[in-house]
């Protein structure tokens, strides 16, 4: 018979064990990246999946994010007669914050979930065991290519998000609401510093690591059967999204 204290203790032990396993997973993945990063064709295949195949969703969300920023920014700035600052507002919001975070959340939904499902299905159908019986390290073939691909793809997708978003803001601000086109880009150029761009790159790079880490980890240790994989996929998306937002706060406070 379990007392509430015992139950609490068991839950605590389980979570501490899970945290330890997650820590081991990322450390071993980074060690393997440094030691045996895997064949370039595996990495390129993953870059195609994580990066290239995310282009459409990134362009679409970036365009509408930029457009809504243009609308909201214009409405707010017009109250102070500073419509000319619209370019700056849109660009800084995108480059420093929305570009890295939204592109990462989009990739989490599209690729992070698929990574978990793929590895989870390989786990339950014994494909990972089969690889181990061949004396091959599954990390080299399944995990590290995804880490490297995510670390390269996320900053590039973020850069694309920023550019498309800025033009989305330009479309609404300049073409629809009549903001001076020169002011839109001139003010932007004057205010955006290299430090802002750098912080966006650092953020999206680290978000790439988080997406690969949680996506692969949840798949690698998914439970039994279709239900186990489905649960792992859901947990992967939720946990990745939460960690991205929490990590974004800490990173912003460091990089500001």
């Amino acid at each position: 018979m379990f007392s509430p204290v015992q139950a609490l203790g068991q839950i605590t032990i389980k979570h501490v064990r899970d945290l330890g396993r997650m820590g081991w997973f990322i450390l071993y993945s980074l060690y393997m990246i440094a030691r045996r990063p895997g064949r370039p064709r595996y990495i390129l295949k993953q870059m195609r999946f994580i990066g290239t195949k995310s282009l459409f969703v990134i362009v679409l969300t970036a365009a509408f994010t930029g457009m809504v920023l243009g609308l909201q920014g214009y409405y707010t700035l017009a109250k102070f007669g500073s419509e000319g600052m619209l370019g700056t507002a849109v660009a800084l919001s995108l480059i420093r914050e929305l570009g890295p975070v939204l592109s990462a959340l989009m990739v989490t939904g599209r690729a992070g979930s698929a990574i978990t499902a793929e590895i989870g299905i390989m786990r339950i159908s014994e494909q990972i065991d089969a690889m181990e019986t061949m004396a091959l390290d599954p990390f080299k073939y399944l995990i590290t290519p995804k880490f490297i691909a995510a670390m390269i793809s996320l900053p590039l997708l973020c850069a694309l998000f920023d550019v498309v978003g800025i033009y989305g803001g330009w479309l609404v601000g300049v073409k629809l609401l009549g903001v001076n086109p020169g002011a839109y880009f001139y003010e932007m150029e004057k205010s955006v510093e290299w430090r802002d761009v750098y912080s966006g790159i650092v953020k999206s790079f680290s978000f790439g690591i988080i997406i690969a880490w949680i996506g692969c980890y949840k798949g690698y240790f998914s439970g039994h059967g279709a239900e186990g994989v489905s649960r792992a996929t859901t947990e992967s998306v939720v946990l990745t999204s939460v960690i991205i937002l929490v990590w974004d706060y800490f990173l912003t406070s460091i990089l500001l």
């Binding site: 299905i121 089969a130 181990e132 390290d137």
Partner: protein, 248 residues
């Protein structure tokens, strides 16, 4: 030789292996039989180090496989090939890529030589013109054959077969058993077969071990097992509902 000494393994409160002792002789076909859910697949996974025992000792060619680093374990695993119950083919790879994968990753052979060996291994298991198909386009029997081709392509010293004929029709079953016997005669590997196929398994195995309640109940030649007077062995072989084995 593979030697298991006093091996114990539990999953939660369920004890699966309970002081198991077994010696698997080199170069012979050893069958492990026993009722479903008795831990036969668990036993195979211990032999290749996919699972670690709670206690006891497992040796392959006199070398313990416990407490090893991954690189050390991989060195021992290079002696093995394994055919999984569901073949465990890589579903994102074609048949050719599946069989070629161990050759590409473990050898420095040229592309042409790999192609030759893959096609030869597929031919050995009776498959032709399937190399461009994907696993989901194959029947259960074909998947097992591809799995067998992948298991033998590196010419391993030991091959583990986890229920190689479960779920197949009688003709395909016989064909798979024939293939195992043929490939064994050709390559001379040590074979460990987990199987429920009574009495067919007695035709291909040279040793039979009966696993029951986490231990090897009886171990001997097929004739010795078939002539056993032990009530559990008798009931299992005859498939009778009456006896010490209670499944329902």
């Amino acid at each position: 030789m593979i030697k298991l000494t006093d091996v114990h393994k539990s999953f939660g409160t369920q004890k699966v292996l309970n002081g198991l002792d077994l010696e698997i002789p080199e170069g012979m076909i050893t069958a492990i039989i026993g009722p479903s859910g008795e831990g036969k697949s668990v036993l195979l996974k211990h032999i290749i180090g996919l699972l670690q025992p709670d206690s006891g000792r497992i040796e392959v060619d006199g070398e313990s496989i416990q407490g090893l680093r991954r690189s050390q374990l991989n060195r021992i695993r290079e002696k093995f090939g394994m055919l999984f119950q569901n073949a465990a083919l890589f579903d994102s790879m074609s048949v050719f890529e599946n069989v070629a994968f161990p050759l590409q990753e473990k050898t420095k052979l040229s592309g042409a030589e790999i192609r030759r060996r893959v096609l030869s291994a597929l031919e050995d298991v009776g498959l032709k013109n399937v190399e461009n198909k994907f696993p989901d386009e194959l029947s259960g029997g074909m998947k097992k054959r591809v799995g067998l081709a992948r298991a033998v392509v590196l010419n391993p010293k030991i091959i583990l077969f986890d229920e190689p004929t479960t779920g197949l029709d009688p003709v395909i079953k016989r064909a798979i058993h024939h293939l195992i016997r043929e490939t064994h005669a050709k390559f001379g590997f040590t074979a460990v077969i987990v199987s429920h196929e009574i009495p067919e398994i007695f035709d291909i195995a040279q040793n039979v071990a009966m696993l029951y309640q986490g231990k090897i109940l009886q171990h001997g030649t097929p004739e010795e097992i078939q002539n056993s007077t032990h009530p559990v062995v008798r009931q299992f072989i005859s498939g009778s509902l009456d006896g010490p084995i209670h499944m329902v």
